[in-house]
C-alpha cells in the first residue's frame, strides 16, 4: 500500500513538472511584455522593473529559478497589483472557492445519485422518464446560463435569495446550484445506467433467491456496486466544478480563486496566471489520488491488485 502511494506521488510530481514547464514556456512566448499595457512606462523605468523581476536573466536561469520557487510554493509578486504576492492572492481567495466547490460537489453527488437510483428502480416508468428529461436538460443548459436563470427567478422575481456576493450561507445557494447542475445531470445518467447493469447481475439474483426484500437487495447489494463508476467520476467532477467556478464566480461577484484567475487572464498578469494554473493542477492531481484511495476502500478487489503491483 505504501509503495502504491509512493508510486502515485511520484507520477504526480512528474505531471506537475511537465505542467509547470509548459505554462512557463507558454507565458514566455505570450505576446507583449507584462508592462506594455495601459500604463505608458518610460523605457528606463521598464528596464528597471524588468531587472527587479529578473526578466533580463537568460531564459534557462529564469526557468530554473521558477522551478525552485514553485517547489517552495512561491510564485513571486503579481505584475499588476503592486506589492501583492501570488501566494497571498491564492490564500485570500481560496476559502471562498473551497466552500462553494464543496457545496456544489455535495449537491451534485447527493441529488445525482438519488435521481439515478430512482430512475433505475422505476425503469421505463414515468419517474424514469422524468428523471432522464431533467438530466438531459441539465447537461444541455450551460452552468452560466443556469446561473442567470436562477438569479432571475430567485433573486429578481421572487426576491428570495441574494443575487450576488458572498456574505452568508444564503449567498452560496444559487452559485452552488448553478455550479452543480451539469455534473449532477452526468452523475444521474451514470448512476442510472450503472444501477441498471448491476440490477441484472447474477449476484442480485443470488441475493433475491436468499429471500431478501427488494429494499435490502437494492440498497445493500446493488447500490454499493453501482456507486463504483460514480466514484471514478469524482475526478472529472472536481474538474467540472473548478472550471465552472471561473464563470460562476464572475457572474455572482464572488472574490474566489476562479475569479482571480479570470481577472489575471484579462489583465495578462502572467505570474498570477502561472501560479493559479500550477495550484489548480496540484489540487486536481491530489483529488484524483484521493479518489483512487476511496475507490480502494469501496472495492475490495482493488487492494489486491495494488498489492500485487507493489511486489
Amino acid at each position: 500500500m505504501a509503495r502504491y502511494l509512493l508510486k502515485k506521488l511520484g507520477s504526480i510530481v512528474v505531471s506537475l513538472f511537465i505542467i509547470i514547464t509548459i505554462t512557463f514556456i507558454l507565458m514566455k512566448i505570450a505576446p507583449g511584455g507584462p508592462f506594455t499595457s495601459e500604463r505608458k512606462t518610460s523605457p528606463a523605468i521598464e528596464k528597471q522593473m524588468m531587472e527587479a523581476y529578473g526578466l533580463n536573466d537568460p531564459i534557462h536561469k529564469q526557468y530554473i529559478d521558477y522551478l525552485i520557487k514553485a517547489a517552495k510554493f512561491d510564485f513571486g509578486p503579481s505584475f499588476k497589483y503592486d506589492g501583492q504576492e501570488v501566494t497571498d492572492i491564492i490564500k485570500r481567495s481560496l476559502p471562498y472557492s473551497l466552500i462553494l466547490g464543496a457545496e456544489a460537489i455535495l449537491i451534485a453527488l447527493a441529488f445525482g445519485v438519488l435521481l439515478g437510483v430512482i430512475a433505475a428502480i422505476r425503469h421505463n416508468k414515468f419517474a424514469d422518464y422524468t428523471a432522464m428529461v431533467i438530466a438531459v436538460l441539465g447537461i444541455s443548459v450551460p452552468s452560466f446560463i443556469m446561473a442567470t436563470i436562477l438569479q432571475y427567478i430567485f433573486a429578481i422575481k421572487l426576491q428570495a435569495l441574494p443575487i450576488a456576493r458572498f456574505e452568508s450561507f444564503a449567498h452560496t445557494i444559487l452559485p452552488a446550484i448553478a455550479l452543480a447542475t451539469t455534473p449532477l445531470a452526468f452523475i444521474a445518467r451514470l448512476m442510472r445506467s450503472s444501477m441498471l447493469e448491476v440490477m441484472s447481475a447474477d449476484y442480485i439474483k443470488t441475493a433475491k433467491s436468499k429471500g431478501l426484500s427488494e429494499r435490502v437487495v437494492t440498497y445493500r447489494h446493488a447500490l454499493r456496486n453501482a456507486m463504483l463508476p460514480v466514484v471514478s467520476y469524482l475526478g472529472p467532477l472536481v474538474v467540472s466544478v473548478l472550471t465552472g467556478s471561473f464563470v460562476i464566480e464572475k457572474i455572482f461577484g464572488i472574490p474566489g480563486l476562479g475569479n482571480e484567475f479570470v481577472v489575471s487572464v484579462t489583465n495578462r498578469d502572467y505570474t498570477v496566471i502561472m501560479g493559479t494554473t500550477v495550484f489548480f493542477s496540484v489540487l486536481l492531481l491530489v483529488s484524483i489520488l484521493v479518489v483512487d484511495l476511496i475507490y480502494g476502500l469501496i472495492d475490495p478487489r482493488i487492494k489486491v491488485t495494488s498489492k500485487e503491483a507493489g511486489k
Partner: protein
Amino acid sequence: MSQVQLRDSDFESIQIDQKETEKISGQSTSYWKDAWRRFRKNKLALAGVIIIILLAFMALFGESISGQNYRDNDLMNANKPPSSEHWFGTDNLGRDIFARTWYGAKISLFIGLMASLIDLVIGVIWGAVAGFFGGKIDEYMMRIADVLYSVPYLLVVILLMVIMPQGLWTLIIAMTITGWINMARIVRGQVMQLRSEEYVMAAKSLGASNARLLFKHLVPNTMGPIIVTLTLTIPSAIFTEAFLSYLGLGVPAPKASWGTMSSDALASFQYYPYQLFFPAFFICLTMLAFNIVGDGLRDALDPKERK
C-alpha cells in the same frame, strides 16, 4: 388418444429438408439498417434531428428574413423589446437581435462543427494508429495523450487563448489542441478490442492484409462509437465557445456568436432580459438537440447498450 381424427396416411414418414430448418427465422437485417430502424423508433431523437435541420437552415438563411441586418447601429432604437419590426428586439446599440441571432448561429455552429471535425480527424488517426500497432508505439502515443489530458481542458484552452491573438480560428485551434484526445482514446479502445476479437483473428489467419483488415473490418465496426462521440462533441464545443465568450475570450467584434451576445446582454439582463433570452435559449436548444440525437444514436448503434 387424441381428440382429432387421424387417418393412417397421417403416419407416413416425411422428408424434412434440412436446409429449410437451418434457415434463420426472423428477419436478418444489416447492422446499419437495423440501427436506422431502431433510431427511427426513437421519437425524441427524431425531434432532435428536425431541430438541428431547422437551426442549420436558419443559420444559413435566417439572417435577412426579417429585413434587418446584424451590424447596423440605430441608437435611437436601442434596447427595444420584441416588436413587428424587430422580432427579437434590439440590443444596446440598436442592432436587430433576430438578425444577430442567426448570424451568431452561423458562427457558433461553424465553431462547433469545425472543432468537432478537426478533433475527429486527429483523434481517429491517432487512436487508430496507436491501437492498431500496439506495443511501444501505442505506449508512447497514449502517454502523450495522458499528460495532455491530465490538465483540465478549459484551463488549457484559456491559457492558449491568452497567448494567441483573438480570432475565430484561434478559438478553434485552442479548442482542438487537446480536444481530440477523447476521440483518440475511444477509437484506440475500440480498435484494441476488435483486434483481439475472434473474427479479426479469423480474417487474419485467412491471410487478409493489414490494409484490408483496417478498412473491411475495423473501420465499419468503429464507426458507431465515432459517430456518437462526434455528435456529442459538437454541443461541448458550442458550450466551450460560449464559456470563453463569457470570460471575454470569444470572437472579437464585429463578429458575434451566441456566446458573445449573451455575454454582452449579461450586464443589463435585469432590465432587458429578452436580450439574454434569445441567444441563451438557442445555445441550450442546440446543445439539447445534439445531446438527444447523440443519445439516440448510441442506443441505436450499440444494441448491447439498449435498455
